[in-house]
Point group: C2
Chain length 335, copies 2
């Protein structure tokens, strides 16, 4: 990477050998339901608590990607993973049962793409023959941790996003062969537009998404024309509009028909999620199902996947801090 | 990395061009005081809250390492960083002011070494020309988040460790030249010996430390004889004894005179920390001061630095979960 740049171009692009996705009941009723590998009607996933349920969903998702890619635990080299729980406990407990070497990450909702960017570099460089990239989120664990106990039935403002109960996992390998490859990855910088409203995440993250897309394009010489789709996750409906406006204002508009947001795609508007979906699991599950399946079918050949995160906590909100946004981008290409 | 292995051997070992450490008042009164670059008597670091103070300490520490290594913000390529706060807010807010591309990590107290292992691979592979690896912790933010509000004056059991108010940062570069190099790095797997007591972290982490040391030795063919020092962080006095016992029991004892624990070295026993220091900042600050300065003086040539983390949260403790431990190892050599 040259000085001042943020983008890795992978000389030996890792291949997505397999992928898996699992979602909860509400996501199973959305427009992408048919694409998920497992749509559970039990949001506890057979466990006693939501946190344990989220961890079980994540474990199952990683195990499913391993099965789909015929990868045994003994030969799996690393799991790049994170979630929204304090101290990423869904990840820690899932990794305990999986028994895999773990690289624990935290990039809020950008975690899945953060993992893709870093893991792809290690696979491309020959340090790893394979890497599992995964992330999860759960509506019930997130609500009670970030906002209010569910039992309170607190009203959500219209700008709030709905944390998806979902997990996604992609298995990257160094082998050659046809399929989806990760050909470049862009790191993110914190961008903070002084949004203080933790129920307005799309607004807080859109400027970081714009910065990372621009960095990717500047570093690689690409333009929006080079992509069949720019998939963000998760700005929701409001954040997606703000992103389009930010690009329009700068005189370099982004073609709206190419811009898909995972959070704005996961639910029907009638499902009453307000501004759409969010959570690490949203972009992970939508990428590892709908997006990659469409790429495998030949409907999309070149996609810029941009994961964005709001790096706040309830403590920082109570201390009147603004919300730092970050975004990572991975270029996916069918080869 | 061959199948079934956990260790990266860096073909072009990154060099530690500069390092920096900052500690709080209690650490300034300990046996390593003279080694730290900044010993603050103000545990708020000029801010209004401890969380903001921790973030400021971390920011200052990274900025100090950049100054010491003559690295401008424009040419700094990535900051690998994490802390113990929920959603790693000390890191997020520090990265906001620093303006650097960020890879947010969470490995509890192992975070600094986790970052070293991953960043060294990216530098060795030529993806990065430089990388900053940092971590912080703060007694007051950790106590109120993981245990009790400080104002309660809750009594700590004798097995409890004292979360260090400290930050450390190492600047890795791809350039050749004499100095400390990171020559190999070992990823960790979760190891859980069913310890449930969140005030007995040393016991919870020691088995993971043993597993990672054994994996490193098996992968590289090294033995304890090959190192001048094995530095763990942070098992504390009790965890260090347990580690020695685990190795003795397995018939492959570790020479006790070579084993130093950062947490057991940071305070005098009379400072009433009970089992010693802990926290991401402890191993980061001790490595980036005492350890590296001793290596630069030629007192130590080959060190295995092992960072260990307890991947629990107050929620997992309340849900009666046991504590998953993890450890990462980095081999540091003077060349």
């Amino acid at each position: 990477m040259r000085k001042g740049r943020q983008t890795f171009v992978y000389e030996r692009p890792p291949r997505v050998r397999a992928h898996a996705s699992i979602v909860g009941p509400k996501e199973s009723a959305g427009p992408l339901a048919a694409y998920f590998d497992e749509a559970s009607q039990d949001d506890l996933f057979g466990q006693k608590t939501w946190e344990q349920g989220e961890s079980e969903m994540l474990r199952r998702c990683v195990a499913r990607a391993m099965r789909a890619g015929s990868l045994e635990a003994e030969t799996a080299q690393a799991l790049f993973c994170g979630d929204l729980n304090d101290q990423i406990i869904a990840t820690g407990f899932a990794a305990r049962r999986l028994g895999l070497p773990l690289v624990g990450l935290y990039g809020a909702c950008s975690t899945f793409v953060e993992g893709l960017v870093v893991a792809s570099a290690l696979v491309s460089a020959g340090f790893l023959e394979n890497a599992l990239c995964a992330a999860s989120s759960h509506f019930c664990t997130a609500e009670r941790q970030f906002r209010f106990p569910l039992e309170m039935g607190t009203q959500r403002p219209p700008s709030a996003q709905w944390t998806a109960t979902a997990a996604g996992c992609a298995l990257l390998t160094a082998e050659n062969g046809p399929g989806i490859c990760v050909t470049a990855g862009t790191l993110g910088r914190i961008v903070d537009y002084s949004v203080k409203d933790a129920n307005h995440m799309g607004a807080a993250m859109a400027p970081a998404v714009r910065a990372t897309i621009l960095a990717h394009m500047e570093d690689t010489g690409a333009t929006a024309e080079d992509f069949d789709m720019i998939a963000t996750g998760d700005l929701g409906w409001i954040g997606r509009d703000i992103l389009l406006e930010l690009f329009r204002e700068s005189g370099r508009p982004l073609p709206a028909d190419k811009l898909i947001d995972c959070g704005a795609s996961l639910y029907f508007q009638e499902q009453d999620t307000h501004a759409g979906g969010s959570g690490c699991g949203c972009v992970a599950a939508v990428s590892c199902s709908w997006l990659m399946k469409r790429m495998e079918r030949g409907e999309l050949r070149r996609v810029l996947l941009v994961g964005s995160g709001a790096m706040l906590s309830p403590t920082s909100t109570m201390q009147a801090e603004t919300i730092p946004g970050i975004a990572y981008a991975a270029r996916l290409e069918v080869r």
